[in-house]
Each structure stands twice: as structure tokens, then as C-alpha cells.
């Protein structure tokens, strides 16, 4: 029998990079993020260094993107689907994320911040 803590949930990730895994552990904290023209909610996300989390995205209107360039990770966020991204920040700081699929007049304002603490 596979121990509960070793059980893996396969997640439908659109994109992964670097230390980002394609599967999430069951105990990973899930943070739900809603995207709609022209904002992310929440737009200020606090994480702990070394703590794996799953960012669970939903777009309420059109195709959006989530890009966290400092960690070289991104994913599309298609409307009508849930997109999950497992992420383990490996350094402390404030990091901007943006929508990187042009979505309309105020697309340039669609951004947020991930705060990683020790």
C-alpha cells in the first residue's frame, strides 16, 4: 500500500519549468486564484520559502496567462477550465506576476505580487 503522504495527484498543468513538478502531493496547500478582466484575485499571495503549493487558476471570461518571470514559470489560463500549477519558491522576496496573454484595454494593469518569506 502506498503511504498517504506519498500519494500523488496528477494535475493538468499547462506549463512547468525549473523545479516545478508536474504532480502535486496530497498535502500541498492549494491557493485558488481567479482571473478576469483585468485583475487576479487575490493579487497579493504570501508563500513560505520551500513550501510546495498548488496555484489553482480559473478564468471567468477570456484566455488569460500567468507568468512569474523571476522563476521562469508560466501557464495559460483558459476560460471554463481549472489550471493547476505546483510551485515551490526557493528564495525569499517579492516577485511580480503578470497576465501574459493580451486580454484587452487594461491588460497592462493585470498583475500581482508573490511575497515569499523565510
Amino acid at each position: 500500500m502506498i503511504p498517504r503522504r506519498r500519494r500523488l495527484l496528477t494535475l493538468g498543468l499547462a506549463a512547468v519549468a525549473g523545479t516545478f513538478g508536474v504532480r502535486a502531493l496530497a498535502q500541498d496547500r492549494v491557493i485558488r486564484v481567479t482571473a478576469k478582466k483585468f485583475e487576479f484575485t487575490p493579487s497579493d499571495i504570501e508563500l513560505k520559502k520551500g513550501e510546495a503549493v498548488v496555484l489553482e487558476f480559473t478564468s471567468l471570461d477570456v484566455l488569460m496567462g500567468f507568468s512569474l518571470p523571476d522563476f521562469k514559470v508560466r501557464t495559460d489560463i483558459p476560460a471554463g477550465a481549472v489550471t493547476r500549477l505546483r510551485f515551490t519558491p526557493d528564495r525569499v522576496g517579492n516577485f511580480e506576476f503578470v497576465c501574459d496573454n493580451f486580454c484587452g484595454e487594461f491588460h497592462e494593469d493585470m498583475s500581482g505580487k508573490i511575497r515569499v518569506t523565510a
Binding site: 484566455l63 496567462g65 507568468s67 518571470p69 523571476d70 495559460d76 517579492n94 511580480e96 503578470v98 497576465c99 501574459d100 496573454n101 493580451f102 486580454c103 484587452g104 484595454e105 491588460h107 497592462e108 498583475s111 505580487k113
Partner: protein, 295 residues
């Protein structure tokens, strides 16, 4: 590897109201290749026709016309004029998008020089994959030759994800494949091809592939827009020069946590807005920046 160009290299040009920057095809004196005739072109960018925002530009309905008048008033006739994207400000309404494109075309029809090249920006093209823009201005990527220089226009905006795309990259490789490795090549595009500031969406998702295709060519200069300010950077031996906007400036890359426009300054109206002239002479490109309205 990228490297910012030292702005101290700028030389003020007395009486012209601009600054000159020697770039690009320089450094090749004595090199082989076909003879190049001197010529001059003008780059305008990010006119955002249809934008409304008095705090940023209370003359949004008149700045483009002033730019047309300023180009017409240049002391010498350019060989051609190029607009490097964001001709119009975006709208969700397809009919309004076409109305803005039509109005833009009518206004720039006032340019005395009728040899005008156009490129889309994401505000023109990203919401309908360039459909409306192409109805007015034709192909969104193309190449042409002028007096010994090969010009290539790359579309990195019709795909809303800021990709050039495999088909266009294949076309680019094929197009450049017909050029000698020391050919003089000038690229026009809207977004930076390199990762200038991805945190501000100032990048092209697959721009590195385009740079890889350009890299074997020893004389390449890129002119682009998108960031509403002058910026000069090298990727290896390739020089990249962004142009000022004709609607409102944006703050310098990395100067604040978030990208932001520079508010209108009534004491210095039109500050930071302008266009550039590029003179190809003696196998160099001399860039002169002009304000849209002389101070």
C-alpha cells in the same frame, strides 16, 4: 547575453532638437559586400489612436496630426516612413477597431511621403489575430530591400500570447537564408525580441528563436516600439533600439515595482513624445530623435 548601451554615447545635435546615436551597421568599414547608397527613413511608433486619458495626454485627438506635420516639416525628405505598431488603442468592439484603423489611415494619409510601411502592435491585432489590421494594411510580416539594406518586419503581436510562431520563424529563416552573412539587415518589430522586462510584459515569448536566426548575420539592427521610450541594448552584436511613443511615455524599465505611464506635465507638454530619423550613411546608422512639438 544582453548589454545596455551607454547613454553617454549620445551626442546632442545643435539646432535639430534631437539627439544622434550612431549604431547598428557600424563597425564594418572595409568589409566586403555591395555598395550602399545613403538614405534616410523615419520611425514612428505607438500612436494609440482612440486612446482617451486627459491625465496622460489631453491632446490625444491631436498628437498624431502634430507628428504628421513634424515629419512633413523635416528639412529633408525621407526615403520611407515606418510605423512600428500600436497604431490604434485597443477596443473590444470590432466595428470601433475598424473605425479607429480607418481614422488613423486617413490622418497619416496627410504625410507628404507616400512610401509608408506599417506594422501591428498588440493593441491593433491581438484581440482578433490581426484580422482587422490586415484588412487595412495587408501582410503583418514581410521583407523588402532598399538601397543595399535588407529590411524585415516581424509580427510578434497578432498572436495574443506574444509569439512570432513557428510558421513565421520558418519564413524568417528562409528569407534571411537568401542573404549573405555580412548583409546589412534592419529588423522592424513591435515588442522587444529579447527579455527586456518580462515582469512588465516587455518581451516576446519566442523572441530568442528569432535572435538565434539573426545571430549568424554580422550586421543586424532592430528597431521596435511597445515600451514608449527610447532604449538601446545589445544582444551579442545585434543592436536593439526602441522608439518613443506618440501618446504617453512609460517609466524606465525596472525603475519601479510596477510599469506605469508618465503623467502629462502641463509645464512641459508633449515631453517624452517623439519620433526618430535614421540615416544610413557610410555603412552606419545615425539615429536622430525628434520631439513631436519643439520646445
Amino acid at each position: 547575453m544582453t548589454q545596455a548601451i551607454d547613454r553617454r554615447e549620445f551626442l546632442k545635435l545643435a539646432g535639430l532638437g534631437g539627439a544622434v546615436f550612431v549604431s547598428g551597421l557600424s563597425g564594418c568599414a572595409g568589409m566586403g559586400g555591395a555598395k550602399q547608397e545613403d538614405f534616410y527613413f523615419v520611425q514612428l511608433s505607438d500612436t494609440h489612436w482612440g486612446f482617451k486619458g486627459p491625465a496622460l495626454n489631453p491632446d490625444a485627438d491631436g498628437t498624431l496630426q502634430k507628428a504628421v506635420a513634424a515629419v512633413n516639416a523635416l528639412s529633408f525628405e525621407p526615403d520611407f516612413i515606418v510605423f512600428t505598431g500600436d497604431l490604434t488603442h485597443t477596443t473590444d468592439d470590432p466595428a470601433e477597431r475598424r473605425r479607429r484603423l480607418s481614422q488613423f489611415r486617413d490622418i497619416v494619409g496627410g504625410l507628404k511621403n507616400k512610401n509608408v510601411r506599417f506594422m501591428p502592435g498588440e493593441h491593433d491585432a491581438s484581440l482578433d489575430n490581426g484580422q482587422a489590421w490586415k484588412e487595412f494594411f495587408g501582410a503583418s510580416y514581410y521583407s523588402f530591400d532598399h538601397k543595399g539594406v535588407h529590411f524585415v518586419a516581424i509580427d510578434n503581436v497578432s498572436d495574443a500570447s506574444a509569439r512570432i510562431g513557428e510558421a513565421q520563424l520558418a519564413w524568417l529563416k528562409d528569407d534571411l537564408g537568401k542573404q549573405d552573412k555580412d548583409a546589412r539587415i534592419v529588423v522592424f518589430t513591435h515588442r522587444p525580441l529579447f527579455d527586456l522586462m518580462p515582469q512588465w510584459d516587455w518581451a516576446t515569448r519566442d523572441g530568442a528563436q528569432a535572435i538565434d536566426i539573426l545571430m549568424p548575420y554580422s550586421n543586424v539592427t532592430v528597431f521596435y516600439g511597445h515600451i514608449h521610450q527610447e532604449h538601446h541594448q545589445m544582444t551579442g552584436h545585434i543592436a536593439h533600439h526602441s522608439a518613443k511613443s506618440l501618446i504617453f511615455p512609460l517609466i524606465a524599465p525596472g525603475s519601479a515595482p510596477k510599469r506605469a505611464p508618465v503623467p502629462w506635465d502641463a509645464a512641459q507638454p508633449y515631453r517624452g513624445l517623439g519620433f526618430r530619423g535614421v540615416e544610413a550613411e557610410n555603412r552606419k546608422l545615425d539615429i536622430t530623435e525628434y520631439p513631436v512639438v519643439k520646445a
